[in-house]
């Protein structure tokens, strides 16, 4: 077989099996239609698509521009003045961890189209691109930075002459991930209701009618759009990185020039970092002059939760929903991470595994969660199992990719040293591979936790009718603004708390092992 064709064999095989399974209704009694049936349906429905695609893409595109513009500016600011990044930490984590679906109803009830789309798309881009910019700018080779500083160059000279060029490919890879996020954000905004156009609206409308072939069609189109956006930046990044690969292996990392601060200053920074998101929430409502009935300020929300006659009932509802959502999220995450960990270690033994799994991983990563969830509902039904599947699929692939690629960075010599002393494969795994993969395991946990919560909430909203997702959907129906805000804030807090917990454990464990945190 010509080696050029070899990469196509796997996907082709999957397609053939899929066709057979679909034709004969082998999976979940016909919930998986054959590719040919999906294509046929796509052709029939084609006249519906342009309007929906345009609405989603317009919001995603505008949000992409705005969100990334802000993100790059913020990344530059944080790199130039590290203290600002510590003050903005609370805001950054909140923006990263907030499940877009949680604030979708608030946005839709407060603003008119396309603002909610643009806002959620922008939020989806912000953290990824901001982090990429910051990492790109600060990872500049310390030796190159020294040369500029040795001629009296200040931080702006270093930025212009060294860091900017080194950061460019990293920023591009950030934009690559931000692009599908923008599409997802735009679709999620449509969950808030009210609109006529958009792939999300189309999806919600078709979900009720139980037409698997149309649902799959919409899911595939959404995936294709996100995938094309991803691909565009892959091509761009390749053109840029050609000439800027490092010539030598860096021997030192950029030392932080931040001098240790007295305790009261440290405390002040932490306090400011917590106060900033709250202040911004308040200020936005005041500036936009949102009516008090619609918009809950922090004290108004506190009043709703603790000061009203109905408050105990409200609290009970929230606690009950949380008790349904949390265990499933955790269980799914642990399962997803565990499978990813084992398979990533497996790539150390058989490197071909990573080549086989990587394309699948890329597809699922670019596939918008909203498109994936209804398909999983079709396949496994509306029971709690669907939640588990959503969380596993959401955590598994990013975790696998992070860990497998991290393990590829382990120096050959470190792997071969135990072998040279006659170590078995298992000893080698225990002594080198497992410890070496720890930073990536933590990074994966940290990065996938908010996505897992989002996946669970989408599944609860669309399918199971349980937990926080369902409570949000119900409150939206009853126009219970207090509850909408309460669920939104609670889910953000849960997400942030989880993220923060992982960060604390990560720092302690890696600190003890003398390892650096992986981004």
């Amino acid at each position: 077989m010509p080696s050029r064709l070899r990469p196509f064999v796997g996907p082709l095989l999957i397609l053939v099996l899929w066709e057979i399974a679909g034709r004969f209704g082998l999976v979940a009694s016909g919930a998986l239609p054959a590719p040919s049936a999906i294509l046929a349906r796509l052709a029939v429905d084609w006249s519906d698509y342009p309007g929906h695609i345009f609405a989603t893409l317009f919001g995603a595109g505008l949000g992409f521009l705005i969100g990334n513009g802000i993100a790059i500016a913020a990344g530059v600011l944080f790199a130039l003045y590290p203290v600002t990044s510590r003050v903005a930490r609370g805001l950054n984590v909140a923006l990263f961890a907030l499940p877009p679906i949680a604030i979708s109803p608030i946005l839709v009830l407060t603003f008119s189209d396309p603002v909610p789309r643009v806002v959620l798309a922008a939020i989806g881009c912000y953290f990824v691109t901001m982090t990429a910019t910051l990492v790109g700018l600060t990872q500049a080779d310390a030796r190159s930075v020294d040369v500029v500083r040795a001629y009296g160059g200040g931080r702006f000279k270093v930025l212009a002459l060294v860091q900017a060029r080194i950061a460019l490919p990293v920023i591009l890879s950030g934009l690559r991930i931000a692009a599908p996020n923008a599409v997802l954000g735009s679709i999620l905004a449509e969950f808030g209701g009210g609109g006529r156009w958009g792939l999300g609206v189309y999806l919600l409308g078709s979900l009720g009618r139980g037409e698997p072939d149309r649902l799959w069609g919409i899911g595939l189109v959404a995936t294709l759009i996100a995938g094309l956006a991803y691909l565009a930046f892959v091509v761009l990044a390749r053109a840029v990185t050609g000439s800027s690969q490092a010539v030598t292996v860096p021997t030192s990392v950029l030392r932080s020039t931040d001098r240790p601060r007295p305790a009261w200053q440290q405390g002040l920074i932490v306090l400011a970092s917590i106060a900033l998101p709250l202040a911004l929430w308040w200020a936005l409502l005041a500036v936009l002059k949102v009516p008090a009935m619609l918009a809950k300020t922090p004290p108004a929300l506190y009043d709703y939760l603790f000061g009203l006659p109905g408050s105990p009932a409200t609290q009970a509802k929230l606690v009950a929903a949380l008790a349904q959502t949390l265990p499933m999220t955790l269980l799914g995450m642990v399962a997803g991470l565990a499978i990813a960990f084992v398979l990533a270690l497996g790539t150390q033994l058989t490197p071909r595994l990573i080549r086989a799994l990587l394309p699948v991983a890329l597809v699922t990563q670019t596939m918008p969660l909203v498109a994936l969830t209804p398909l999983l509902v079709l396949l496994v039904g509306r029971g709690p199992a669907v939640i588990l599947w959503v969380t596993i699929s959401v955590t598994f692939f990013p975790a696998f990719v992070t860990m497998a690629q991290g393990l590829l960075l382990v120096p050959r010599a470190a792997l071969e040293l135990p072998r040279a002393y006659g170590a078995t494969v298992w000893q080698q795994l225990r002594l080198v591979s497992v410890p070496a993969s720890l930073p990536y395991l933590f990074a994966a946990t940290r990065l996938t936790a908010p996505r897992a919560l989002l996946g669970v909430m989408i599944a609860e909203w669309l399918a199971t009718g349980t937990g926080l997702g369902n409570l949000l959907n119900q409150s939206r129906g009853y126009l219970d603004y207090g509850m909408i805000w309460a669920v939104a804030v609670l889910s953000v807090l849960v997400s942030v708390a989880f993220y923060q917990a992982v960060v604390l454990v990560e720092r302690r464990v890696l600190g003890r092992l003398g390892m650096a945190v992986a981004e």
Binding site: D146, V147, A150, G152, S243, Q245
Partner: protein, 256 residues
């Protein structure tokens, strides 16, 4: 204080804090390099010899004491374009051609490149890279990259030159060649030079004076004058006088 283009350190101390522990990198170091002199700093790893150079370049701030480069505080001297520097790693920017890498200090100092066109061409010729002006660092060998770094260090016509193990990553044969070239370049420019090195032979061959350091805490233990006539030729490496000086330095490094 200090001479017009010399280097002077007075009672300079430096300590680092890492993982809650205070490490004393330098304790009360006194060093004066006369204008036009060539001084080599030699000592075991971690004795603070590179720290002295980084302090003089303003890359670190001293915990105590006074430093002057050409009679000025380090930041003023480096920002004024009086100094040149080459590190152990060439630290070339991979996206810049040889020519553009040599011109980097000019960009940092905000100087117009045009008046330096001939100087840049001359330097590239001097380090034996004529014809490679437009090559990217990835297309050069390790020795060639290091020569670009030397040319870069000289582009501002520095009065004070700092070299931090510039040939540390090269093999012994290439290193000897580069030492001979460096002496030639230095004799033409007569810049006050401070060389940090691990190589005893390199120090003796190049320097007027070898400063021997010890670690924990980093301090100067001996200063040995090298009164061999210049220009020094490659045959010198086999001269008994050369070997005597090498032995003396080796002894000083062992604490005799």
């Amino acid at each position: 204080m200090g001479d017009p283009a010399g280097i002077s350190l007075r009672r300079v101390s430096k300590s680092f804090e890492a993982r809650g522990k205070l490490t004393e990198a330098l304790r009360e170091v006194n060093l004066a390099c006369a204008p036009g002199s060539f001084t080599a700093l030699i000592g075991p790893s971690g004795c603070g010899k590179s720290t002295i150079l980084r302090l003089a370049l303003g890359l670190e701030t001293a915990s105590g004491g006074e430093i002057a480069v050409a009679g000025k505080p380090p930041a003023e001297a480096t920002g004024g374009g009086i100094t040149g520097v080459a590190f152990q790693d060439a630290a070339l920017l991979p996206w810049r051609s040889v020519e553009a890498n040599v011109a980097l200090p000019l960009d940092v100092l905000g100087r117009d490149r045009k008046p330096y066109r001939d100087k840049i061409a001359e330097l590239i010729e001097l380090v034996g890279l004529a014809g490679y002006e437009h090559a990217l660092p990835a297309e050069l060998s390790g020795g060639m990259r290091q020569r670009v770094a030397i040319a870069r260090a000289l582009v501002t016509r520095p009065e004070v030159l700092f070299l931090d193990e510039p040939f540390g990553a090269l093999d012994q044969i290439l290193r000897r060649q580069m030492n001979i070239e460096l002496q030639r370049i230095w004799m033409e420019s007569r810049a006050t030079t401070l060389l940090v090195t691990h190589g005893i032979d390199e120090a003796v061959f190049l320097a007027d004076r070898v400063v021997v350091m010890a670690s924990r805490p980093g301090r100067i233990t001996r200063v040995i004058d090298i009164d061999l006539p210049r220009p020094r030729r490659p045959e010198l490496f086999n001269d008994p006088a050369f070997h005597r000086l090498e032995a003396e330095i080796a002894g000083a490094l062992d604490g005799h």
